[in-house]
């Protein structure tokens, strides 16, 4: 009996780590520019497509080749995100209406989905993992679940180091604290924001690539990932990577436990109740900073 719970826990954490990674990739952009990039789910799917392309090109790549391909995929998606970031930031510089990103990022998500449908069709792409399954508790777990956990920890450590130990990272953090002061202090705000878009591309591109065998790579599967990433982001607390790292697996495990004990049809409802419940107790999320004094 306990083995079943152990397996659910590990798979839930694995899947939740993917949500955590999506949430972290949201975070860095949000911190630098206040933008929540709705197209991030599509970037994630594009990362998965690169894994499919890699298999198509290299057959089943060897471990070394696969390892080398991760940064390649990450950089390709980072470039795509840089372009998107540039376009998204464009109207913000000449308009006093600062919410255009909400529509432009959603629109980019719709456009990418539409193009994928036209080019690739409605079928999903399927990628077989190059790693064998890992035996655990008399059962087995596909390696990408465990790799996702590792990747989440890796990016968490990198981000924490970058944001607190490097000058550029500190400058990005400063933008979150006070964008106006940041500008006044001579920070090259646009450049930092673009950098954040690129960094989020590295995170999401590598995640899509690594998790490709366990995710759905299709023209319309992005929305589900955006939502799960957002739920992790909001529960963990916006701007907190620690929050994302904890909330992602929390959401993953809770959804699987709800399915196991109550039934799959209530998975959506349970996720929503957890979201609402946590927000009602802590409106800023578990690790979110409380509102600054207003008066």
């Amino acid at each position: 009996m306990w083995q079943e719970y152990a397996i659910i826990l590990i798979r839930g954490i694995g899947l939740g780590s993917v949500y955590a990674l999506i949430a972290m990739s949201f975070n860095i952009v949000k911190v630098s520019s206040g933008i929540l990039n709705f197209a991030q789910g599509n970037m994630f799917v594009l990362g998965g497509m690169l894994a499919y392309a890699a298999v198509a090109l290299f057959g089943q790549p060897s471990f070394i080749v696969w390892l080398l391909l991760i940064p390649v995929a990450a950089i390709i998606i980072a470039v795509v995100l840089l372009i998107q970031g540039y376009l998204t930031l464009l109207p913000l510089s000449y308009s006093d209406d600062q919410q255009s990103w909400l529509i432009t990022t959603m629109a980019v998500s719709i456009i990418i989905g539409a193009v994928l449908l036209l080019v690739q069709g409605p079928n999903a792409l399927m990628v077989r993992s190059i790693f064998p399954n890992v035996p655990l508790f008399g059962m087995r777990v596909p390696a990408p679940f465990l790799l996702a956990i590792g990747l989440a920890v890796f990016w968490y450590v990198v981000l924490q180091w970058f944001l607190s130990k490097t000058l550029t990272g500190l400058a990005i953090s400063a933008l979150w604290q006070d964008p106006v002061a940041g500008r006044a202090a001579g920070l090259k705000v646009r450049r930092l924001q673009l950098l954040a878009f690129g960094l989020s591309g590295l995170i999401i591109g590598s995640t899509g690539f690594v998790a490709a065998p366990i995710i759905t790579i299709a023209s319309d599967s992005a929305v589900a990932y955006v939502l799960n990433g957002f739920v992790a982001l909001v529960i963990g607390g916006v701007a907190s990577n620690t929050g994302a790292l904890i909330a992602g697996p929390l959401v993953g495990v809770a959804a699987m436990l709800a399915t196991f004990k109550i039934g799959g049809e209530f998975q959506g409802l349970v996720s929503m109740l957890i979201l609402v419940g946590i927000l009602l107790i802590r409106p800023e999320g578990i690790f979110g900073s409380t509102a600054a004094r207003r008066v």
């Binding site: 308009s95 255009s100 456009i111 193009v115 409802l269 929503m272 927000l279 009602l280 004094r293 008066v295």
Partner: protein
């Protein structure tokens, strides 16, 4: 640091305040837009019916319903600052209630309408409850996940809703043309659509509309004006759900069918997009938004088939890239930018109070009585055992270095923060357990260190919200001539163009207009020129002498304090180190050395 939370994060746009021509409640731009909007709806409804184009009749009715739903989603978003990504669930609930009532239980359509609106209000309440606690995109995601769950619940309770198979309802009578050529359904959607456009133009000009905007833009300013932000949010959700519900009940007769799959996330996103792409807060905005995002890809370019989502995405993307304030917002902005911006003329303080119309005041010599007050934030003792009092009809200066607890004290006095110990009596009434808006109702008004002149409201509206909050039905104590000239001056201005120093004064005028008899002013003279300071000092004296107001003000300019204050209290590290008439405090040996630091702070 503070403005980011109060304004930057909210989804509210400045309603462009274009030049006023007359004393009408709508400005010219809004008037023109309403006329054009209703004309478009009339033509679009009448022409297909006259030509007997049944496809177009259906399409126009549906588009009109979507416009109505978007208008009310816009009201929620723009006027009340509430982000709902799940408005389609409100719409769907109303439609489904009609489907269940009329299609499964055989009720007549009018009864169905009642069920539909009731169902919409229920979902509205479900959305409003989290809105009392969470805001901005947190709220957006709560409503979004609710909208995701909505169709699943329609599946899950299939005995009630007929589940997957949906409900088919013909509503033939409603769709049959009447004597005037239009079907009852077309008439209903046309009337509802026109009313919605009119509502979107008039609502922001109503007292409720202004108060909602204040509550959305600055909850603390709202509370200081006696407005409950929570109640405003709740009201906004109810109004929006009511309007959206009316749109939703027309869906079943228009489409002839309800099914869980019709109320997916897409429809919520469409309403949201329509508001922003069309132009937030523009009466014509939703018509433009629905035309571009719904009619263009689904009707005009229906033959494109699989390219439709691409068109939809590209239109939304390009519009926002080229016109970040939306189609109509962009056009209005372009037209108004061509007009010469008007500079704000200096306000003549001497006119504010022209006659002594002293209102009735609560009896008693002591306006504010503070006893052993203490407030701790974490490890910081912000207010340390403060006891002092403010006499009725005096100007009382609060001075001290930055961080000495002046603003913290004001915050306790008007109920923003609850004290940890001690008592505060305002006009003899204990206020330590009261909320800010209740303290405001006792006649305490206040201004803020960063003035809450809200760009989400027109220039005059920013002052008028003071009149809206008037405590008594008596005519205002401020000279009517001054109010008229101020209305005239501000009516021509855009809020953004008001200089910073003048904003503080407008805020002071706003508070005076509320009839408050105790004013708490937080650095009211910061940013004024030396000449303006002299005039301002005169204003404070007039308020005291002619209107009999009690004024507590925090000020760094000790010369100004010396000039107008009757008494002064000096704070240091949250504690009172001196209190009394100006001359004696100035000579206090504990105070003297502080002045040097204060002056340079």
């Amino acid at each position: 640091m503070t403005s980011k939370i109060s304004t930057g994060e909210h989804m509210i746009a400045a309603r462009p305040s274009t030049a006023r021509t007359g004393p009408s409640i709508l400005d010219r731009s809004a008037k023109i837009q309403v006329v054009i909007g209703i004309a478009i709806l009339v033509v679009a409804t009448v022409v297909p019916s006259a030509l007997g184009l049944s496809y177009w009749i259906g399409v126009i009715n549906l588009a009109t319903i979507y416009i109505v739903a978007s208008v009310f989603m816009g009201l929620l978003l723009v006027d009340a600052g509430q982000v709902s990504f799940g408005h389609g669930a409100v719409f769907g609930a109303a439609a489904y209630a009609v489907g269940v009532a009329c299609g499964m239980h055989g009720f007549s359509f009018p009864v169905g309408i009642l069920f539909g609106v009731a169902a919409a209000l229920v979902i509205g309440i479900l959305f409003a409850l989290p809105a009392l606690r969470v805001q901005w995109f947190y709220l957006g995601f709560v409503t979004l996940s609710a909208a995701m769950v909505f169709p699943q619940m329609l599946f899950a309770f299939d005995s009630l809703t007929n589940g997957l198979n949906g409900i088919s309802i013909p509503f033939t009578a409603l769709n049959t043309p009447t004597a005037i050529g239009l079907s009852i359904l077309s008439i209903l959607s046309l009337v509802l659509g026109s009313l919605a456009i009119l509502t979107s133009a008039i609502f922001p000009k109503t007292k409720l509309g202004r108060r909602m905007r204040v509550a959305a833009a600055s909850p603390e300013a709202a509370q200081s004006l006696g407005i409950s932000p929570g109640r405003m949010r709740f009201t906004a959700f109810m109004i929006a759900s009511f309007g959206t519900g009316l749109a939703g009940v027309l869906y079943p007769p228009t489409v002839g069918f309800v099914s869980p799959n019709a109320f997916h996330l897409d429809i919520s996103i469409l309403f949201f997009f329509a508001v922003i792409v069309g132009g937030k807060g523009q009466p014509l905005g939703t018509i433009a938004g629905i035309t571009l995002l719904y009619m263009l890809p689904n009707v005009f370019l229906a033959q494109l088939v699989e390219y439709r989502p691409l068109v939809y995405g590209l239109v939304a993307f390009l519009v926002m890239l080229l016109m970040p304030s939306g189609i109509i917002g962009g056009i209005v902005r372009w037209l108004t930018l061509r007009q010469k911006p008007q500079a704000m003329p200096a306000l003549q303080f001497s006119q504010i109070v022209d006659a002594t119309q002293s209102a009735k005041h609560p009896v008693g010599d002591i306006a504010i009585e503070i006893e052993g007050l203490r407030k701790v934030f974490g490890n910081v003792v912000a207010i340390n055992n403060v006891s002092m009092n403010v006499r009725r009809g005096e100007i009382h200066g609060l001075v001290g270095a930055n961080g000495s607890g002046k603003t913290s004290l004001l915050n306790v006095l008007n109920g923003f923060t609850n004290s940890d110990a001690g008592s505060v009596k305002v006009n003899g009434k204990e206020i330590t357990s009261l909320k800010a808006r209740d303290v405001a109702h006792l006649g305490v008004g206040r201004t803020f260190q960063t003035p809450r002149i809200l760009e989400q409201l027109g220039a005059w509206d920013n002052v008028q919200i003071g009149l809206d909050a008037k405590l008594s039905p008596n005519p205002t104590r401020v000279s009517p001539a001054f109010v008229d000239s101020l209305r005239d001056t501000l009516g021509r201005l855009r809020t953004e163009s008001i200089p910073h120093g003048q904003r503080r004064l407008l805020e002071v005028i706003r508070v005076i207009l509320t009839d408050a008899d105790i004013l708490l002013l937080d650095e009211p003279a910061a940013g004024l020129s030396p000449e303006e300071r002299v005039a301002f000092a005169g204003l404070l004296r007039d308020l005291r002498d002619k209107l009999g107001l009690t004024i507590v003000f925090v000020e760094h300019d000790l010369d100004l304090v010396a000039r107008v204050a009757d008494r002064v209290t000096v704070l240091e590290s949250g504690a009172v180190i001196a209190s009394g008439d100006v001359a004696s405090v100035w000579e206090n040996p504990r105070v003297k050395p502080l002045f040097v630091t204060v002056r340079h702070a």
